[in-house]
């Protein structure tokens, strides 16, 4: 066997190992019920902020504690605890992705991703923001 063949084999093996390990490293998108069934396992949960319930952020007491209620895509609601400052413009998010795990009845989020009305690309559906004078003649 040639040296190059041996090296090539090693490279293939490493690449294979990478893919396997990456697969085990990924979390999965889930909802609150799945997450509640597997406490301690990290999930991505997609949902919307429940605007009818209180969002609590009291920086005077604790600048790194923010709690809110989120409804996942299947309509189940859970309290979410985020040990960080409240993200800017949180209320405006159309959709929220939280990364974390269920601990007892609360979802402890380590990360919050917000899908804002197109923060980085200017093509949102804001027809109502269209700046033209609307009075008809």
């Amino acid at each position: 066997m040639k040296k190059t063949h041996i090296i090539a084999l090693i490279v293939v093996a490493v690449a294979f190992a990478i893919i396997l390990s990456s697969l085990s490293n990924t979390s999965t998108y889930a909802n609150f019920s799945t997450s509640a069934k597997n406490p301690g396992k990290t999930y991505h949960v997609v949902g919307k902020l429940n605007k009818d319930r209180d969002m609590i952020y009291a920086p005077e007491v604790n600048a790194n504690l923010f709690t809110f209620f989120m409804i996942d895509n299947e309509g189940k609601e859970s309290k979410v605890v985020y040990n960080n400052s409240k993200p800017q413009d949180f209320e405006r998010a159309e959709q929220i992705v939280i990364v974390g795990k269920m601990v007892e009845d609360e979802f402890i989020a380590s990360e919050i991703l917000m899908k804002c009305p197109s923060k980085y690309n200017g093509n949102e559906q804001d027809q109502n923001n269209l700046s033209y004078s609307n009075e008809s003649q």
Binding site: I7, I18, I19, T26, V46, P59, N62, Q88, N129, Y132
Partner: protein
């Protein structure tokens, strides 16, 4: 009934569409006539047609670019693209940025660079010009098809930048575009996203697109080599273009990193974001291809490997285009483009070139010549080859993890991206980078063919032991948390020292021939800087009062600081002194102090002003501020703030009105201040108040003294005009005190005031995060050294022709 619209300049759109059609057709014509001329080398006419078509194509593309700029700067809002990206009060320096804010414009920018590179090759007019520009032409045809905006049956091909606002699908059904004078009703364009109104947006995209465009040329050479069956001769002319691609794409990436670090709130310069990764991977394969080209040149072998790697680099650029523009990344990236419904077409573009390249390579691979003998371990080519494979592993790992959304789409799986993104990538990329750096040293000290063992070990041993000692010292000084970090520390120090000694001893410090060595030092400096800055970054705003929930949930990186308060952070004392509004930005002034032991006082070292951009349309955006020193950077970010509502402060923010009667010399204490009524005098400035002879105006002077004994004066005024009492309220904003002079009671010798104080919990505050990045300057120094080294290499190749 046909509506006659007023005030539209339709001629430019017609002209633009004609140019688009011309650019697309001439690209196709150029491709086919070059193809024919290559098959019939004696037929000069076809070659002439081909060259002329490419020139006409390039002129069309350049004029399209200029026309778009003209329309944007002239604010021709009848064109949707102009309305979408330009606005009346946009500063001139951002007008260019409007061109490439959208997908259509950035395709034009990309095509523009292809034309410039193509014209350069056309001018060289050698045996490679025809087949290389043939490849460039067909790629141009694909890119232009993305902005054609024509319908073939029901199939829409491309998104046209000259579409009229009233004909754009998002607008056509709105009632106002049915009015003949709709154009006068458009008050303003939507304008450039304020987030992108940043000088980085002016320089970063052109550089990055030049990088993307320049990967086409080595690919075109590789394809040209296969088509013309000149399997080995292409390497020499292609080498400087490959170097140029490595340089321009690398610079584009580094500029992106600098933008992220300076202006975005990532809190770092590389976040392993899918879009960043998608541009990094082609650079890695390009670097691998470049190094194999050195094997090609010196040993007349491994030509297939370089053809495959250079093709892969270009195809990966197309893949990155697909990822960022098709909308497939969705939630997983912060800076992809808007989905224009071009996914099918982008996929076709990508697959077409995979098929073309793969077919040509498979068809020709057996015919590609090369020395077949084994490489001895002690030879430079062996280590270059090994290094190439390791770079490939790096590229595979990044690509796989970045492609999770694509894998989900194709296989219907439901995988989410890794939870801890940085840790995930670093666990692979740190050891890989270490191996690459060590190989850089071994390869540079080895000769091609077979080297002598004794000579090699003798020449490298000095650098090896010197690096070992230095990295042990650095390791003890810094203390890292994992073994791979120590490995990377040693490897980068080794690469810096070995290359430096090689530069001095072997190359006699001649810059002209030292491009490779200098580039390697630059890369190693970037790695060393990234290692130290990331591994030893120190969140000095740590809020020690809160309960720590363990390392899974870093919960104490933010700290609340009230206006006027001073908190200790790291070796600094930090004061927040207030916010101020300038245009759309609200600046937060944060002063950093050091304790001066000699004078036992705090002395101000510097001031940082992170800001929040008020952005009605996209949401407020916070931008950090960073103070740079040689040995560390101090990054300061306002993560949360109660923004001033402006002048219309609400009454409920103040305590209830209280009437007090005071005599001259009386003192009143509020919760935070002492108020001393010192004297009364009549106002001098009677004229400006418009007072008549019998009218009266008196000012009461108060001293407002705070807890530190600092005092300010307040002069509420009482005016008696036509026998009516008028009071003018005085307010000290910072202290939060309002005084209204109500009446004078001459009998009791007392004055009546209304004194209000702002409720204490409403005091202005911010939540901030401050991070100290040690030796961040190494990253930028390394970037300059890398760019410098590559420029030297290119100049050296160009002059040696």
């Amino acid at each position: 009934m046909e509506i006659v619209y007023e005030g539209e300049s339709l001629i430019y759109g017609v002209f633009g569409n004609l140019l688009l059609a011309a650019a697309f057709s001439f690209a196709l014509l150029s491709f086919f006539s070059f193809l024919i001329s290559i098959k019939n080398p004696l037929d000069v006419a076809w070659k002439k047609i081909a060259r002329t078509s490419f020139i006409l194509h390039s002129v069309s593309v350049i004029v399209i670019f200029a026309l778009l700029y003209f329309l944007i700067s002239g604010r021709y809002y009848e064109y949707y693209y102009v309305w979408q990206h330009s606005s009346d009060n946009l500063p001139a320096q951002y007008l260019f940025a409007c061109i490439w804010e959208g997908q259509e414009g950035s395709f034009i920018l990309w095509a523009f660079w292809h034309c410039i590179l193509g014209l350069f090759i056309l001018k060289q007019n050698n045996e490679w010009s025809a087949p290389v520009i043939m490849v460039v032409s067909i790629v141009q045809a694909f890119i232009l098809s993305m902005i054609l905006g024509v319908f073939v049956g029901d199939l829409k091909i491309g998104s046209n930048p000259f579409t009229l606002l009233r004909e754009h699908p998002d607008m056509a059904n709105l009632p106002f575009v049915q009015l003949p004078d709709y154009l006068n009703r458009i008050e303003d364009g939507r304008g450039l996203n304020p987030l992108l109104q940043n000088y980085w947006m002016v320089i970063h995209p052109p550089m990055l697109f030049l990088g993307f465009a320049s990967t086409l040329i080595p690919f075109a050479f590789a394809m040209a080599a296969l088509v013309t069956k000149k399997y080995t001769e292409w390497v020499k002319p292609a080498l400087s273009f490959t170097l140029f691609a490595v340089l321009s794409l690398g610079t584009g990436l580094l500029m992106g990193a600098a933008w992220a670090y300076e202006a975005l709130s990532f809190g770092g310069f590389w976040a392993w974001d899918p879009v960043e990764n998608a541009s990094l991977v082609p650079w890695i394969t390009l670097v691998a291809g470049l190094h194999v080209m050195f094997i090609n040149k010196s040993r007349q072998k491994a030509f297939a490997a370089s053809i495959i790697l250079l093709s892969a680099s270009f195809i990966l650029v197309l893949y990155s285009t697909f990822l960022t523009r098709s909308g497939i990344l969705g939630d997983s990236s912060v800076h992809s483009f808007t989905d224009l419904g071009l996914m099918g077409q982008l996929l076709f573009f990508l697959i077409a070139f995979i098929v073309i390249a793969a077919t040509l390579i498979i068809y020709h691979i057996k015919k590609i010549p090369g020395v077949k003998e084994e490489d001895p371990i002690l030879s430079r080519e062996f280590w270059l080859y090994l290094g190439m494979l390791i770079l490939l592993v790096s590229a595979i790992q990044i690509s796989f993890s970045t492609s999770i959304p694509v894998i989900n789409k194709v296989f219907g799986t439901n995988m989410a991206p890794p939870v801890e993104v940085e840790a995930h990538y670093n666990s692979w990329q740190v050891p890989i980078a270490s191996l690459i750096l060590i190989m850089m040293c071994i390869a540079i000290y080895l000769r091609f063919k077979k080297d002598d063992k004794k000579r090699f070990f003798k020449s490298i041993s000095l650098s090896f032991f010197l690096s070992l000692i230095i990295s042990i010292a650095l390791g003890i000084y810094f203390v890292f948390s994992t073994v791979p970090m120590y490995l990377l520390l040693f490897a980068s120090v080794f690469a810096i020292i070995a290359n430096f000694i090689y530069f001095i001893n072997k190359l006699k410090a001649k810059f002209k021939i030292s491009g490779a060595t200098i580039s390697h030092i630059g890369f190693a400096l970037i790695m060393l800087g990234s290692l130290i800055a990331n591994a030893k970054k120190d969140v000095i705003s740590e809020n020690v009062l809160n309960v720590d929930l363990g390392k899974d949930f870093p919960n104490n990186e933010n700290i609340m600081i009230r206006k006027g308060d001073t908190l200790s952070m790291g070796s600094y004392y930090v004061t927040y002194t207030g916010q101020r509004k300038e245009g759309v930005n609200v600046f937060f002034t944060i002063d950093y102090f050091r304790y001066n032991y000699e004078r036992s006082t705090l002395s101000k070292v510097f001031t940082l002003e992170p800001f929040v951009q008020l952005n009605e349309r996209m949401g407020n955006v916070a931008e950090p501020a960073t103070k740079h020193f040689i040995n560390y950077d101090l990054y300061t970010h306002v993560t949360y703030a109660e923004l001033d509502k402006g002048d219309d402060e609400k009454d409920e923010d103040f305590t209830k009105m209280e009437e007090v009667k005071l005599s001259i010399g009386d003192t009143l204490s509020t919760s935070r201040h002492l108020l001393v009524l010192s004297h009364l005098n009549s106002t001098q400035d009677r004229e400006s108040l418009g007072l008549a002879e019998n009218d009266l105006a008196v000012e009461a002077s108060f001293y407002v003294i705070d807890q530190f004994g600092k005092s300010k004066e307040m002069k509420p005024m009482l005016i008696i005009k036509n026998n009516t009492l008028l009071s003018k309220t005085e307010e000290l904003d910072e202290e939060g005190i309002r005084i209204k002079f109500l009446n004078i009671l001459p009998k009791e010798n007392q004055l009546v005031f209304n004194i209000q104080e702002r409720k204490s919990n409403k005091r202005d505050f911010i939540i901030m995060k401050a991070v100290l990045f040690p030796y961040m300057s190494l990253v930028w120094a390394g970037s300059f050294v890398l760019v410098f080294g590559l420029i030297i290499s290119i100049r050296n190749r160009m002059s040696s022709k």
